[in-house]
Symmetry: C2
Subunit: 146 residues, 2 copies
């Protein structure tokens, strides 16, 4: 299904669904969760398929443009992505101690975005709310920030 969508997206731009792009797409959708480009690159190598680092990055950009994948956040070490097709929009809480990412969804937040945009004559298309702090297991342990 996601392949069909991606193929259509590529078609509209006169681009082709090559082996490499298909490999990246397959790998991205082979699991649920967050990933970094480098991590993805190694997963692909380890899965029999092949695609250079350059192709991984290039395809990732296309996937984001197509709406199948989203950039979750930027860390000091690079970007974190997740596939969004088939998943409802959600936001994230990030633990400063262990780096863990917790997903949450809030209907109130969605309507609040609309309200805030209206007040500022802004035409909002998306938002990212990132809450930082300590997750349940890291609380009260005196751990350093990462």
């Amino acid at each position: 299904m996601e392949q069909k969508i991606f193929q259509e997206f590529l078609g509209e731009r006169g681009l082709k669904l090559t082996k490499e792009r298909a490999a990246v797409l397959r790998e991205v959708f082979s699991f649920h969760g967050h990933f970094e480009p480098e991590h993805l690159y190694f997963r692909i190598r380890g899965s029999g398929s092949k695609a250079s680092r350059a192709s991984v990055y290039r395809t990732l950009s296309l996937l984001v443009e197509s709406g199948l994948v989203e950039k979750v956040t930027r860390t000091d070490r690079g970007n974190v992505y997740e596939h969004t097709y088939g998943h409802r929009h959600h936001d994230h809480m990030i633990c400063d101690a262990c780096g863990g990412i917790i997903e949450f969804y809030s209907e109130k937040l969605e309507s609040l975005q609309a309200e805030i945009c209206e007040q500022n004559s802004f035409s909002g298309s998306s938002h990212t709310l990132e809450i930082r702090g300590r997750c349940e297991t890291c609380q009260g342990k005196g751990l350093e920030d990462r």
Copy 2:
């Protein structure tokens, strides 16, 4: 005033308020708005003071730790900061067309953060809400995303 706070912060750690650190501090608080480290570095050079790139980055980290400065967002080209002392917390809307940043504050959002954290047993210390879209002047102009 901010110098006093910074000095106290440094004192607690056995660090000194050197010429270079003072220059960075002064420059950061000499204007209101967002800035990038590189930009700050050149402002300092142009203002008679001096501080190496390394010192600028090092001091910026200290300022963030002291709470006087906050990292606003990460762009593809680096981090964006702003001084927060004397300013109430706020969030940002970023125009995809012109890159402009609009600040806003929402009481509802603040209480919503508390509510969401509670629901997830997360101990939240801060949040960043970034709304992306088109600002008033860029709407309906068919401009490309940056």
